[in-house]
């Protein structure tokens, strides 16, 4: 998957979890949790959405790579 495709996929998953957040306003390198008020439940919902979209599970041990939007995009681009 290209990075652009990966970014769209992640942004769509984020829109499901937090429709009020405009992806254009997100700093891709800032931690999602602090920057967007994403709490552990939102994060779980986001990971579930992304895992569903890429068609494979994301183990908890990979969470450290998913701290930022950029991290998510890298992860998705590399894994499918």
């Amino acid at each position: 998957m290209t990075r652009d495709e990966a970014r769209r996929l992640v942004e769509q998953a984020l829109a499901q979890v937090a429709p009020e957040i405009d992806p254009a306003t997100i700093d891709p390198h800032e931690p999602l949790q602090a920057d967007l008020d994403i709490d552990s439940i939102d994060f779980l919902n986001l990971v579930e959405g992304v895992a569903g979209a890429i068609g494979r599970d994301i183990p908890e041990s990979d969470y450290a790579r998913l701290a930022t939007l950029e991290g998510f995009v890298d992860y998705v681009a590399a894994s499918s």
Partner: protein, 445 residues
């Protein structure tokens, strides 16, 4: 056949008035106990309100957008008399007698005929207001074809219930924009804030006030709403601090065992079944509340009434500002997995603005968890008439003395603010020790 009034419910200890943000039913609709029939806007949040009888909506007494006092009749419902023969079901096309009750100006009671739930759903999905559809069926009744025709006419439908985020809804209402005229780009075509902003921009600076249909809408703008929320919360918290002699206690709990247990459990699970640490924290708070009865119940009429089980209030902060504290029912009967499911469901729906009124009622103790926001410890203010609030801070790695050696372990600071009329420091200490013990022994279910 008797009638009963559906009244503005009390949706919080401090609620005095509410706005009928939206009707989900119209005259003639059949309703069943538990059906959501209206969305009520309070100073704190929008809540889906359920009906508690089986029957038929006779008429709506308050139009959308109107603010009324708690207890004011909102709708008249026809119910079967107790002991009446259930087979004597009135025909579905039963109309309210004309003029039986004066219709308030602008009331949504103008919907002339009875529509099947199927038809209403179709209309809702297509953003068609049945009140504006001309029926071509028998006796002028509206048919499926009528709705489809109305839906295909651009600009004529006004959404009965368009999918939209709460923020988008508010933005649109502030500018009197009809949601039905806006194309949604969110999930399932839901309208998100960006869509509303784009619509405002496209319509140009002179747009706004005259853009939408003249359906009454709550006219409070976002700043107004934020102010009223602040005031409502401020009033309640002032009352709490004025009336409740708070005292506070805290303890630091080592979470090494809990964290290891959680990792172990989660490693074997796919993401949708994983637990977050908050579920363990809630579980421990429930255990504490069950063992220390003076933390769990209500102060009413000058005395403490302990509760049998735990109705666990969970403070959920909303990204757009504000706080709701919906309740996990009978939390003492739930294991950690069930608590996790309940927490996830409540938080997700609270953020979506679809908490039911019945989910806000009568918590016996509340938990506030600011861990995700990075604070070390939070000492909450008790929500009257409750007598305690439990606070969890962030889970952070801290140096700990373990068996004479220095080790770095994940820890959390647990606090309790309690009512001194009901309990003393000893009770708080016992409560905290049960919470700590529960967290330190994750193997015990």
């Amino acid at each position: 056949m008797a009638t009963t009034d559906f009244c503005m419910p009390v949706l919080g200890a401090d609620m005095e008035r509410g706005i009928v943000a939206q009707w989900r039913v119209g005259p003639g609709d059949e309703v069943h106990r538990g059906d959501v029939i209206a969305v009520i806007e309070t100073e704190k949040s929008d809540l889906d309100v359920e009906v508690f009888q089986d029957g038929w909506i006779d008429r709506l007494l308050v139009p959308e957008g109107e603010e009324v006092a708690v207890g004011a009749p909102l709708a008249r419902i026809r119910v079967l008399d107790a002991g009446a023969d259930p087979s004597s079901t009135p025909p579905l096309d039963q109309h309210p007698e004309p003029g039986a009750v004066p219709t308030p100006p602008g009331a949504a009671a103008a919907t002339p005929a009875v529509h099947s739930p199927l038809l209403r759903r179709l209309a809702e999905r297509s953003g068609v207001d049945l009140a504006h559809v001309t029926g071509t069926g028998p006796a002028g009744s509206i048919t499926r074809a009528d709705v489809e025709r109305a839906a295909s006419r651009p600009g004529t439908g006004t959404a009965a219930r368009t999918l939209a985020s709460p923020y988008a809804r508010r933005l649109a209402a502030d500018r009197s924009l009809a949601l039905a005229g806006i194309t949604g780009t969110g999930a399932n075509g839901a309208i998100v804030a960006a869509d509303v902003l784009r619509a405002i921009e496209e319509a140009g600076p002179s747009s706004g006030r005259d853009a939408g249909p003249s359906r009454p809408q709550p006219r409070r703008d976002a700043a107004d709403r934020a102010r009223s929320l602040r005031r409502a919360l401020g009033d309640l918290m002032s009352r709490s601090k004025r009336e409740i002699p708070h005292y506070y206690a805290s303890t630091v709990v080592d979470l090494a065992a809990a964290t290891a247990w959680l990792q172990d459990v989660n490693a074997a699970r796919t993401v949708q079944n994983r637990m977050v640490p908050a579920a363990l924290l809630l579980h421990a708070a429930v255990a504490g509340a069950m063992e220390q009865a003076t933390m769990n119940g209500h102060w009413m009429d000058g005395s403490f009434r302990p509760a049998e089980g735990v109705q666990l209030g969970v403070a959920v902060s909303l990204r757009e500002g504000g706080l709701v504290a919906p309740v996990i029912r009978d939390a003492h009967l739930l294991d950690r997995d069930q608590l996790m499911l309940a927490l996830r469901d409540l938080v997700t729906r609270a953020r979506r603005g679809s908490i039911r009124a019945s989910e806000m009622v009568d918590p016996t103790i509340t938990v506030t968890n600011l861990g995700d926001l990075g604070v070390d410890a939070i000492f909450g203010v008790i929500y009257p008439p409750q007598v305690a609030i439990v606070g969890f801070g962030s889970i952070t790695e801290q140096p700990r003395a373990v068996e004479g050696m220095l080790a770095v372990h994940p820890t959390v600071t647990v606090t309790v603010s309690a009512d001194h009329r009901v309990s003393d420091g000893r009770d708080a200490a016992r409560f905290l020790s049960v919470v700590a013990r529960t967290l330190q022994n994750p193997e015990q279910p």
